[in-house]
């Protein structure tokens, strides 16, 4: 917190409060426009690539609320929860990196082939073991893979057709559902089973930790691998073209796949004209 000393009720603070409200309103408007754009842009990538959507703005709020509902209630196993959406879609919330076969089955039932590997903390699958498919995201840009980290439902997979996705975003636009509800239903990845080719499948691997502390994400971990005390995990998500080799567990590089995550963020940021933040080198490492 960057709080000044004074208990501040003065002009500057009052003005700040009012201006922040103004900015927040605009942020909401921007998120609304984004959803609108996403829904109209969808048909462009109809044919080949599996559909992958990323949750934008409102996910910040979602992340905060998610912590409270952490240990997975609801149907499915404790490790994940399956919710059926009114429009016919399915949302799978992955609460913890456990019960890989169960999650595979849940995805299969929703129409998605997958290979899921959960590993002990500090481990990762040796790469490469499949050919990653290049996927166009609804929000623009191409994605070859994606890493998510955080406590609770770091990974929420929405499985629904593009029509259902559009319908949800239209409901959001019309104000029938809130931004949180929209993101809750579509997840931080949205997959359209009808867009998958016969050789394409989803590959997810992950492990407990690291701490989702942003300082850690930016500066790299100070310890070799920090397991998040709140039960956070990280999961890499990719779509494979063709066969997927089995996971051969190897020691995760320092910082897990956060470097990869930073790379993806940097790419995404570059597309939007935002200069990426260069992660500072981990302090303990000797300079080259």
């Amino acid at each position: 917190m960057t709080q000044q000393q004074k208990p501040d009720d003065n002009f500057e603070e009052r003005l700040l409060t009012r201006l922040k409200a103004e900015v927040a309103e605009r942020g909401a408007e921007a998120a609304r426009l984004e959803a609108e754009e996403a829904s109209t842009a969808a048909p462009a990538w109809r044919r080949r690539a599996p559909r992958l959507a990323f949750a934008g703005g409102a996910a910040v709020a979602a992340l905060a609320t998610v912590i409270a509902i952490n240990a997975g209630s609801g149907n499915g196993s404790k490790a994940f929860a399956v919710e059926t959406q009114d429009g016919g879609g399915t949302t799978i919330k992955v609460n913890s990196p456990e019960d890989a076969p169960g999650l595979e089955a849940a995805l299969a039932e929703a129409g998605i082939r997958s290979q899921i590997t959960w590993l002990p903390a500090g481990m990762t699958c040796s790469e490469p073991r499949f050919e990653p498919s290049t996927v166009e995201a609804v929000m623009g840009g191409t994605v070859r893979g994606l890493t998510m980290a955080g406590p609770g439902t770091a990974m929420t997979i929405g499985v629904m057709t593009a029509e259902q996705y559009r319908e949800l975003s239209a409901e959001y636009r019309r104000g029938e559902i809130s931004g949180d509800e929209f993101h809750d239903a579509t997840g931080n990845v949205t997959l359209d089973p009808t867009a998958f080719g016969p050789d394409q499948s989803v590959v997810i691997s992950g492990a407990p930790g690291p701490s989702p502390d942003l300082d850690v994400i930016i500066n790299g971990p100070t310890a070799p691998y920090v397991v998040d005390p709140e039960g956070g995990y990280e999961a890499s998500f990719a779509i494979a073209e063709g066969p997927v080799g089995s996971c051969e567990p190897v020691k995760a590089p320092k910082g897990g796949s956060l470097e990869e995550m930073n790379r993806v963020i940097a790419e995404e940021a570059a597309e939007r004209g935002i200069k990426p933040i260069t992660p500072a080198p981990a302090s303990a490492e000797a300079g080259g």
Partner: protein
Amino acid sequence: MEPQPALPNPPSALSRRLSVVAAREHGVGPEQLRLIGIDADLFELFYREHVEAVQHFVVRRVGDRERAADLTTEIFLAAVDSAHNYRPRRGEPRSWLFGIARALVANEGRQRTRQRAGEARLRGSALLDEDDAARLDARIDAAARSRQLYQAMNRLPKSERTILELVALDELSLKEAAAASGMHPATARVRLHRARRKLRTELEAAATPQTSTKEKR
């Protein structure tokens, strides 16, 4: 032809949070500035970084506390409005903000007589209480000499006046001032030089007997 989108696409949740963390450490830089119009956290950092400078900027030109409060508000509202159009070549965030402030204060002079109440989204003066008023008045008093100088610049050509204002009054570096007023640094240097010379002759000519032009020690 597609119209220019009014607002930028929001970045992903994570890159947004990363921006906030970076801004907390290093100030709101050119990378984050475009987002201050849609991200309240980034805006707060930006505001705290610059609000004092903006107020000083205003009271060096305006001697009325209500108007100073209104102008401060309008400057930040304008920043929020145009942040998405910001390009790094327009200079550092501070220069950019001072450019906005300058345009608004200059415009304010022309608009003062007109009715402005109707169009104001947010009236800063309505947020003032007694303590603020006293504090602002003190600030306004302290800036009295700057305002005299500001008045004295009135007869300079606009381009020269602009650069002198920013350098002499607001203590921007020549480079920052050039960026804030959209001039090439070399042009700015020439104009600054001319403006200083003219102003000096003018002040000397207008000097009353009791104000010595220079103090020697």
